[in-house]
């Protein structure tokens, strides 16, 4: 069993740890770092509950070795907004009732951040395909789509320079 020293930035803070080769990133985040907002739903990279950002791209952390994240910049749901504030997506999911049990929500939001980065003004169809790797069993997706639409609008307005 080989151990590796890894250093990565998680939610803006540098973390160094010694890990086994086989340690999955989702377990590292949940068990070693005690950040439990990233969830495990399927183990087969089908459901997206474990989605995080690695260097800005959405990745399913259940299918990613911790050692491979050495040197990476990682963002989890805990790191997208300052305490007591909401990222536009968090606000939009609240406003549009885009969550019920909340289990898929962190992954859904992390995926949406990457999607809106690449496509700031997606159509409903593009949103549906864009979150097609994230399963939600509660909401029927209508309100998730609406949430992402609201956030897209707000994030675009934020980007536009104020006169």
């Amino acid at each position: 069993m080989a151990k590796h020293t890894v250093t990565m930035t998680i939610n803006g803070e540098s973390v160094t740890a010694e890990v086994d080769s086989r340690l999955l990133l989702v377990h590292f985040i949940r068990e070693n770092l005690d950040m439990t907002g990233t969830h495990i739903g399927c183990d087969t990279s089908s459901c997206g509950a474990c989605t995080i950002l690695i260097d800005g791209k959405s990745v399913k952390s259940c299918t990613y070795l911790t050692v491979r994240a050495d040197g990476a910049n990682i963002t989890t749901i805990e790191g997208i907004a300052a305490d007591g504030t909401n990222h536009p997506l968090q606000q939009a999911f609240h406003d549009q009732h885009g969550l019920h049990c909340g289990f898929c929500t962190p992954g859904m939001i992390m995926r949406s951040i990457d999607m809106l980065e690449n496509n700031p003004n997606p159509t409903e169809e593009e949103i549906r395909w864009g979150i097609s790797g994230n399963l939600c069993r509660c909401t029927g997706y209508n309100n998730i789509v609406k949430s992402i639409q609201q956030a897209a609008k707000e994030m675009q307005q934020e980007k536009e320079p104020t006169v």
């Binding site: 791209k57 070795l65 395909w129 097609s132 790797g133």
Partner: protein
């Protein structure tokens, strides 16, 4: 689901990876995106003793036209392929396929090299490679080799790559005037492996006669399959609806699907027929634009 123990090795150069593989032998496997291998390891269908991470090797992620060739680096991710302007403009077949491959987060990790090198007839890129008549460039202990795609797929999860070989580049003849390609797969739900898939690439001369044609089939035989009979039949002819019908018929006859959860053998043959027609028409439409 947790993989069995193994030892992880990171390679930062191609030479280092190949040397490591030589040193560690049979029980070492390369990992690029990891989305084919790691799920098998989590199910403990695969229990390699060593993993050599090649994803950090610099310079193997690119999409460019060079002389007469389109060159795609082996570590280029599916997402990079999806968003690449050159491919979007001149090789829309890639967009067709990537859009239907897994899901966006998986595509952020999954590489084109891994998709092909895994040797799974259910993956989407192999059919494209057949249709586009790609050449696979690999490097291993005995140096660099060029493998025509028709010699690449040997059997179930088995390819021409030998222990130590890394798929470094895919070379595809540059898109000519009046050429076009298209891909579609029937899937049970988005991101699923294909029930059946068909990739078509066609080239026409100014008179509209088919000068070259490639047809690749996904997940309807043990290895990704070329529809040779249909290609030979169309080559040199002005393509008509009647000819397309005949080629589609050949496709449904020549493929070798098995009945499984995705459908019966007969259903899959029928899907191959329909998709061959539809993709030939779509490729033609693109070629004529």
């Amino acid at each position: 689901m947790i993989p069995a123990n193994f030892t992880y090795h990171k390679a930062t150069t191609l030479q280092e990876a190949i040397a490591l593989s030589g040193e560690l032998g049979e029980e070492a496997k390369y990992m690029s995106g990891g989305h084919s291998l790691l799920p098998m390891m989590k199910l403990r269908f695969a229990t390699p003793e060593h993993i050599i991470d090649i994803s950090k090797i610099q310079g193997l992620s690119y999409i460019k036209e060079d002389d007469d060739l389109l060159k795609i680096g082996g570590l280029t991710t599916q997402t990079e392929i999806e968003h690449n302007a050159l491919l979007q403009e001149k090789y829309p077949i890639f967009g067709d396929a990537v859009w239907l491959t897994a899901d966006p987060s998986v595509r952020n990790c999954g590489t084109i090299g891994g998709n092909i090198a895994h040797g799974d007839a259910a993956n989407d890129q192999p059919a494209l490679m057949l249709a586009l008549r790609a050449t696979i460039i690999a490097e291993g202990t005995d140096g660099k080799k060029e493998i025509p795609i028709d010699e690449f797929f040997h059997g179930f999860y088995m390819t021409a790559l030998e222990q130590g070989d890394i798929l470094t580049e895919i070379q595809i003849p540059k898109a000519r005037k009046n050429s076009g390609g298209a891909y579609y797969k029937m899937e049970r739900k988005v991101g699923d492996y294909a029930t059946a898939g068909v990739a078509v690439h066609i080239e026409l001369d100014d008179a509209g006669v088919c000068t070259e044609i490639g047809i690749g089939l996904t997940n309807v035989s043990a290895v990704p399959m070329r529809l040779e009979r249909g290609e030979a039949f169309l080559r040199g002819k002005a393509v008509t609806d009647a000819l397309i019908e005949e080629v589609a018929q050949m496709a449904s006859e020549d493929c070798e699907p098995e009945s499984d959860l995705r459908g019966s053998e007969a259903y899959k043959r029928s899907i191959v027929n329909t998709l061959t027609k539809r993709m030939l028409n779509k490729a033609l439409e693109r070629a004529r634009q």
